[in-house]
Amino acid sequence: MTNDNKSVCVIGGGISGMTTAIEAAEVGYEVYLIEKSPSLGGRVVQMNQYFPKLCPPQCGVEINYKRIRVNPKIRYFTLAEVEKISGTPGNFDVTIRLNPRYVNDKCTACNKCAEVCPVERSSDYNYAMDKTKAVYLAHEMAFPMKYVIDDKVCLKEQCAKCLAACKYDAIELSMKPKTLNINVGSVVLATGWSSYDAAKIDNLKYGIYKNVVRNVEMERLAAPNGPTKGKILRPSDKKEIKSIAFVQCAGSRDENHLAYCSSICCLASMKQATYVRSQYPDADIYIFYIDIRATGRFEDFYTKVQADNKISFIKGKVAKITEDADTKSLTVVAEDILSGQKIYKTVDMVVLATGMVPNGIKSQMPADIVYDEFGFIVPDLQSPGIYTAGCAKKPADVASCIQDATGAALKAIQIFV
């Protein structure tokens, strides 16, 4: 294979994809990193803190951004979608559609365009809990640090206020999609995950009762760059909370929803309990669970949280939630299995510990990829030269994804030698 192409195409610019790209590039291989959203970073940049160390994701992500920025071997494309993958190891043809950003490289992220923009859109970064303008920055650490225009809502030439406001000529409303064809030696799929659509769990009333949120939204509520600037306030009236209930296995390990365990939600809820604890030392925190799955060294974190007398663990799944029409407080109902009593807890807010859904379930790669029944990519069944990293393969925490992505980089380059 000595004459073959020795470059790698990494699809997905989250923590796994970035890691694979960086690891492969830093040992000397050409890498194309393809991301469909306007910024690299993926789900981790939406987190407030990582468990179990409770450090913010920003520092690690920033280091990765820098490693990408300074490495000439990595070519990254945002707003890029893969249209076709074909070929054999050493010779894959990948067709990529580059969607228009409508903002060119002259952008300095000065925000003048957004100031004049009259159109608003709900923020996907904050899970629709607040709004951005039609021209917006993906998030404050966006990489590339360039604004983007949402062409589904932008009024384009009819408005063009941003065009006048931008003194750097960075706005190009006439930008068109482009197609990029690349030839690479191997492909790594790092297409990531989304949070389960909790509205499908009819008895937990997500989307009906305002104060029922998912764990991913709780991350944004606790994050300093989130819609509440990091103060955990309940959505219905933006008031401080005195009590909160975490509902584990919200749709997980459930044949009617996600039949598998996502393995991270127990730790995520315990971590979020510590957010509440640090902001509201007197708040009552209840974690309703079927089984606590804190594997390996995560057990220590569990032990630490368990020792907290303001955090109660109740063995029994919440299967009913009711709302007080006046106060918007919620009553969760479970059977406390250890005492055999039904237990009613009235709380200000409920967090549903929803699981990870692989993005493969709704948009499969335009290639011959084998997915399992849940939409996860089955690594062992792929054609030679195609590898998988991170949550596209199975639900995992960030540290595991990084290890996995490093392994994927090794697999992707070892066929060249």
Partner: protein
């Protein structure tokens, strides 16, 4: 505390599996079922605890558990069960098991538990009534003239048969019920808190619960079941009332049969028959088409439903053919009707028909022992329970 060794009855687990509880081992004790159930109370709610008892083979606990009979198999639990463990069906299987377990004499319980004994069970009334026919000389040719069923099989024979069978059945029921009550009283997992209500008060409340179907009505997942049951129940009650009235009318007041169609008792009988048949039709439809909530149906279910259905149809048919004047068909339809009525009454304590008595007794007991009722509204009822974890 003494060593409490759990004695697991593996045969019991296998029996429950065969009687409709095949999914019980899928349960992972999340207790979704207990919470979504509108009928279970806040104190040791069902069916989560029954699921683990069934998995562990704790027969003694389950056959003495009043909660098994406070479940109306709405299917709410099965619909929400994350594991497909179908608690509603497991509860039904435990009830089926109880029919056999409490049967007196034991061999009758076995006889009603499997279709292989069905010919034998039917042979009893068929031969009995054929003998009567042979005796009165109606076996070869049916009586001439106006069709009066008493001319075919005279009351002189029918009534003593049914009276003695009823007496035997009542005795057998008393034996089963006594044992059931004693078991509940010794093993009640809720503990007993007597004193709030007398047995009589409990009985009146239980009768009210059954007559109004007010608990059954709370089922969310499958309320068609409720409608079907209500129709069957009141259809059956009407026919039972008619039989009683006619019996006393006949012997006490010298009533002339058949009754005119305009007679109020006859009208009640016809309404009852139509209700019974309608209810049975709904129930059959439900069992065939709503398996996700009704669950699978088993021998006990089909036998009971089938018998009721045929009693309703043959009863109404016998009347219609009688009015049309076709004597042989009318008389032999009546014969079939009698055979099925005999089947229903004689085998009552061992078939699913017995759910009437076990459920009634369990509800009376639950009220008498002071077991808690389901919370009317989850929000108004706020019990603060100290968490053990």
């Amino acid at each position: 505390m003494a060593n409490n060794l759990i004695e697991s009855d593996i045969d019991f687990v296998n029996d429950i599996t065969k009687l409709g509880g095949g999914s019980l081992k899928k349960c992972f004790q999340c207790a979704t079922c207990s919470v979504v159930c509108n009928l279970s109370s806040d104190d040791k709610p069902f069916p989560r605890k029954e699921m683990i008892w069934a998995q562990w083979g704790l027969k003694d606990k389950l056959i003495s558990d009043p909660d098994v009979w406070r479940c109306y198999q709405c299917g709410d639990c099965s619909v929400h069960c994350p594991r497909g463990a179908k608690p509603a069906e497991v509860m039904g299987a435990i009830r089926n098991y109880s029919f056999k377990n409490y049967a007196f004499p034991k061999f009758m319980g076995t006889a009603l538990s499997s279709p292989k004994y069905l010919p034998l069970l039917f042979a009893v009334p068929v031969i009995l009534f054929l003998l009567v026919l042979a005796h009165v000389g109606n076996l070869i040719s049916v009586p001439a003239g106006e069709i009066v069923f008493a001319k075919f099989i005279p009351h002189l024979y029918v009534d003593p048969i049914f009276i003695s069978v009823s007496a035997i059945v009542a005795g057998a029921m008393a034996m089963s019920i006594t044992k059931f009550w004693k078991n509940m009283d010794t093993n009640n997992p809720h503990g007993n808190h007597y004193g709030e209500k007398s047995i009589l008060q409990s009985g009146i409340l239980a009768a009210e619960e059954i007559l109004t179907h007010n608990k059954f009505k709370k089922c969310d997942a499958n309320n068609l079941r409720y409608s079907g049951h209500l129709a069957i129940f009141y259809g059956f009650m009407a026919l039972f009332a008619v039989t009683t009235i006619v019996f006393f009318g006949l012997y006490v007041f010298g009533l002339e049969l058949p009754l005119k169609l305009t007679n109020p008792v006859k009208i009640l009988a016809n309404i009852g028959a139509v209700a019974l048949i309608t209810g049975c039709t709904i129930a059959v439809y439900n069992r065939l088409n709503k398996k996700d909530t009704s669950g699978e149906s088993y021998y006990y279910d089909w036998l009971f439903l089938g018998i009721l259905f045929i009693i309703g149809i043959t009863g109404l048919l016998a009347e219609l053919v009688r009015l049309s004047g076709n004597a042989p068909v009318a008389y032999w339809t009546y014969f079939v009707h009698l055979v099925f009525v005999f089947f229903l009454i004689a085998y009552l304590p061992y078939s699913k028909f017995a759910h009437l008595m076990y459920r009634f007794v369990a509800i009376v007991y639950a009220k008498y022992a002071g077991m808690r009722e389901p919370a009317e509204d989850a929000v108004t009822e706020k019990t603060e329970v100290k968490s053990v974890a």
